[in-house]
Subunit: 375 residues, 4 copies
């Protein structure tokens, strides 16, 4: 593909914070052109009415998804930043209306006519939870409804880029991980794959900025409720747990049950996870760190910090970076792994673009190398 | 003692945030009169020059401790809010200069003259770490210097009010717990005493506002470094660990080694601890909660929250309250206990006044029943 | 009245931030008992469900105003913290149902029976804007509806305590000033009364914490929108303008038109006003300061700062205090007056209690002398 | 010049927040290569030790300015982010050591040898105040020392890009405006040039995030002092005043004396100015707005907002944008102009790079078109 080609990109659900950060990053991307923005509550509004910080940027207005003229709009990529449980229907409908080639293997008998008709190759990057869980029964249990696109689920690739890079390159549909799973899995997968830590007793104490809660109007997200304050939430019931467990099970080839407790911290962006693990056999914090250094030595976005430097959210703010370090625990036989990401970037929109780059055959880092913003 | 008696109170080290909060609470206390404020760097300044929010309150100027005229100043209570490792020398010197009765048992032979001379009964409430560790070897190890007042240490009572109330009533010298130990111990001691949780594998993930770091000039405490950010610190090395372990050992009658990881959160006040424990035998989160409810049912400042309400720092801001709740962990055989306090009040100045009330024979809640400040 | 008498107090509209701060201050008040809390959306809930920081305090549940059994509930004081434009109807209805003596002069003919029937003397402290504007035409213009209780308006006293103290002592209905007017008027009234500044060209640049916007769900009050950001609002149209102009006109005996521009600042509490004025004749910043010092020299809550100390919101947080100072302007013939208050206390609930104290014949400072909370 | 040429850039004083933001923006710039970073206190450290958010970026270590090997280092551009009053000596010394062509006109007699020796053409962009004031007497008065490079001052161009674009293109030494002057001057210059507002009675009420105070250790910049609080500072004495007055005088061809009051707001970045002006003759807010629209209609970074949308700092965070709007004042004959910038970008490092682009003949927007970061 040509280095200066502009791919036509659409963002479904552009009026939330995730959508806004996608647009921010796409503006800086040299190979994309924002061709479509949808949003139901804000349909008909200019993006700068919804997000005034986009004044001065030439971006399409927000329209209702029902107004999109498929396939005439000729998108190369669709980012789907819709609420959980609505994403699956929208994507299924979209792919059918586009007569997408991903459907071929899913349809047992295909007439010559169908096979010959124009096949779309649009790439779909879903940022919701709808295609993250391989087991649609697990999905139904945690999301309270049956999965409506179980065939499509089988075609979806879990978009944790550093782990599934090769699959993502070939994928038509990528399900981007949640923000909490991203930091947890980057920290733990290399250790479980190498058998350095036990699968029992993995405790994840997570802290997140408020943008993770979205732009919807809830009393608990008002400034006065959150500022100068902090609290845990979703204790023992947060929906990111099954996603983490699924991928840890893949890595360890065993079932894994985790403890996961998220906390809301008075900051806009940023996520920090303090992960308490038990060491296998003669392993030490040093051997864990060596394994992470080895796993990520050539990764552009994952950095294992030197010495005993503690990861901090200010190290990654606004960037696609993840910083990790390993520390001894005072309790013998245990270690502490700490990771920080920006929940909206590596935890959401940035990783989505990282995946898009791979799916389009672009350099993986394209448009994502901006430094964190500190202060 | 008379309900309207005014006890003369001195604060040594009044120019830090702890000192400021002592003054704030003493202003609201009906039975105290602030008779002395000391501070070395700010000696000679009015308190309102050091803390402009005290404009309009009639409070003595800050003087150097060397300028205090003992015993003529006739204090009833001395709060010592000096830095760790300087407190012990100051208190020892003070007690000697006052010919304090606490010294009697510590001095093998006493002449009739000495015994007959005027004995001071001033009460000392130390907010530093200097008298918290019963084992002065442990002190030396964690604080990097030998303890200079080992005899005095034996007379000090650990000032976790709800646990040591009876001893505090009779004490002349009370060593107030650190902020982190206060929340951790209130959560864990009743459970260990009753044998409901295991002593192994107690993991404490703590989060604190920035006032805990004090008013000293360090780059990491600048607004720009902390705001819109968070990070862990002192991982595996924080000096509050031995203090927590000491008291858990007392409660469980066994040695206890804990994991303790504090984090700095962008807020002025507030502390939240998420404590991960293993259940003994057939215990459940419900039996743990029942034990806490029973232990604290008559306590004015410790509140076990109903149902699954999550403790939040905004529930206790500015107050002497502690809120606690117990949650099931997704990992079988484990539970999560969460506690919130205001680090400067129940974690420091408020508990110090609570102890003073007991030492003086006042109602324990005197001057401490103000509601939290939310917003 | 007896020093230890407990007056029965009701708060109508207790589920907002103003209501919460009234409750916080009333808990600390030695002469009040909270006998009633109403709230329509939260009717039937315990206060601690609505404001979890009140856990541990024994306070009545919130009920609907329709459920109140007047006059059986036997209130001595009613605080009305209802939304603008609903307050007038509620108070009018309440007074009629109580057969309140304030109505006597308003009713031309009274039968002997009516005159003899039991007269209520309940004191009403209104925190809304409904009785602040003496001219009900002005009210109608700014609030978009005719005033429904014009007779009652004539009986209302404007509750800027330091200015209208004598009237408030005799009043049955006090209309507490808005937060912005409080700081502006305390700064300007003594200067205009003494003819030290011109009435033209008074510019007030005001900055407020977010609690002033209330607890209602609006996108602009979400944490993420406000944190790490600031902006002006209501430019040239804020409803506190006519109230300020009304009182400045009284003080100067001339019509006054002001410029007033409020800004939202990312903090929970606090209000700062930077007021730009033109000096009369030979007046100087020094003569202005002297006039303020003289006007407030015996005031317990208003403090003119020494030298060139700049007022800051952290000097008054949580307290009923107001700090003011005067500065030379670089433009000759002008001066800058800066004032800071806590918008929820002196700007709302604290001043309301200050007024209540006067109306009940209590010491004006009762329950209000707690020091500001810094940090 | 070639579109893909990499200019070698040095940053003197790279360890402050301004230096950090220069590095952030230069990393995203396609035509620069960071060849030198100096800092005295941090000399010998890696940049990521000083600013851990730069982990993963390949940037030179910080060295002392004395260690720089001029001219061998072959810089094309030097950014000087040194403290006020030290910048002039450093730049003078640097230019002499480089035998810079800018010196030619300043030296009355030049020997043939000197004239023939290699002339440097390095571009110098100074971010300090040292070359902003054309009148070195004014400099001496406000900065408390005589100017040491008065000849060089005459060659410096004031780097307010939108106003002095043509001069900047030809300049060797550009003095970038202060953050406050940038927003004030962009708002006022077109209006004064067109004679739409009076030169008397211009009042600027400014609000800034804390990064403007720099990274030096001062009590007033500690998190706890600033968070949940705000205050004015430098009232009537801030050093940005003469700079604003100088440029307003140029625009209006008259002396101008302004009122300027800055305030510190609890946010990292962002600056908002509320400017109160008097209208000339028949001018109205609408004619002012039309003039600004006309002045900036082709500007890539200055945006006049539609309708009555209020500028907010969140609209520009992290970007080189400036948003402005005009509002009617309630006082007849007056108007209010409000502008917002990011103090570290358009107010400092971003404008510096904008100027560099012009000085090097690059497209002015190169490396500066990233969207603001919201949330």
């Amino acid at each position: 593909m040509l280095a200066d080609r502009k791919y036509r990109v659409g963002v479904l659900g552009a009026s939330g914070y995730t959508g806004a950060d996608l647009v921010r990053l796409l503006i800086a991307h040299p190979n994309t052109e924002i061709a479509l923005l949808t949003g139901e509550r804000k349909a008909g509004m200019s993006l700068k009415s919804v997000f005034p910080h986009f004044v001065g940027y030439d971006i399409p207005d927000i329209i209702s998804i029902d107004e999109v003229e498929w396939p005439a709009i000729e998108l190369d990529v669709v980012f789907c930043a819709l609420p959980h449980a609505t994403s699956q229907d929208v994507i299924k409908g979209l792919l059918h209306s586009l007569n997408h080639s991903i459907l071929d293997e899913m349809i047992v008998t295909t007439t010559a006519d169908q096979a010959n008709s124009l096949r779309s190759e649009v790439k779909v990057v879903d940022l919701s939870a709808d295609f993250r869980l391989r087991d649609t029964e697990t999905y139904a249990k945690w999301y309270g409804k049956a999965h409506d696109a179980t065939d499509l689920q089988k075609k979806a690739v879990y978009g944790l880029t550093e782990i599934y890079r090769d699959d993502i390159k070939k994928a038509d549909l990528v399900a981007c991980p949640g923000c909490y799973p991203t930091a947890a899995l980057l920290s733990l997968i290399p250790l479980l794959k190498a058998g350095l830590i036990k699968t029992e007793d993995i405790l994840i104490d997570a802290k997140s900025g408020v943008s993770g809660a979205g732009r919807s109007l809830k009393e608990q997200n008002l400034f006065v409720e959150v500022s100068e304050a902090m609290h845990p939430y979703g204790i023992g019931s947060h929906r990111h747990m099954p996603e983490i467990e699924q991928e840890l099970a893949v890595a360890s080839k065993n079932d894994v049950t985790i403890s996961f407790t998220p906390h809301l911290v008075p900051m806009n962006r940023g996520e920090l996870e303090t992960i308490y693990v038990k060491l296998e056999g003669n392993e030490t914090p040093e051997t864990l760190k060596a394994a992470l250094l080895s796993a990520y030595e050539n990764e552009p976005f994952v950095h294992i910090l030197e010495g005993s430097i503690a990861p901090a959210t200010r190290m990654v703010r606004g960037s696609n970076n993840c910083v990790i370090n390993v520390f001894p625990d005072r309790i013998p036989g245990r270690a502490i792994i700490i990771a920080a990401i920006d929940n909206l970037v590596k935890g959401s929109s940035g990783q989505a673009i990282q995946n898009m780059n791979l799916m389009l055959g672009l350099e993986e880092t394209t448009g994502l190398m901006q430094a964190p913003m500190f202060p």
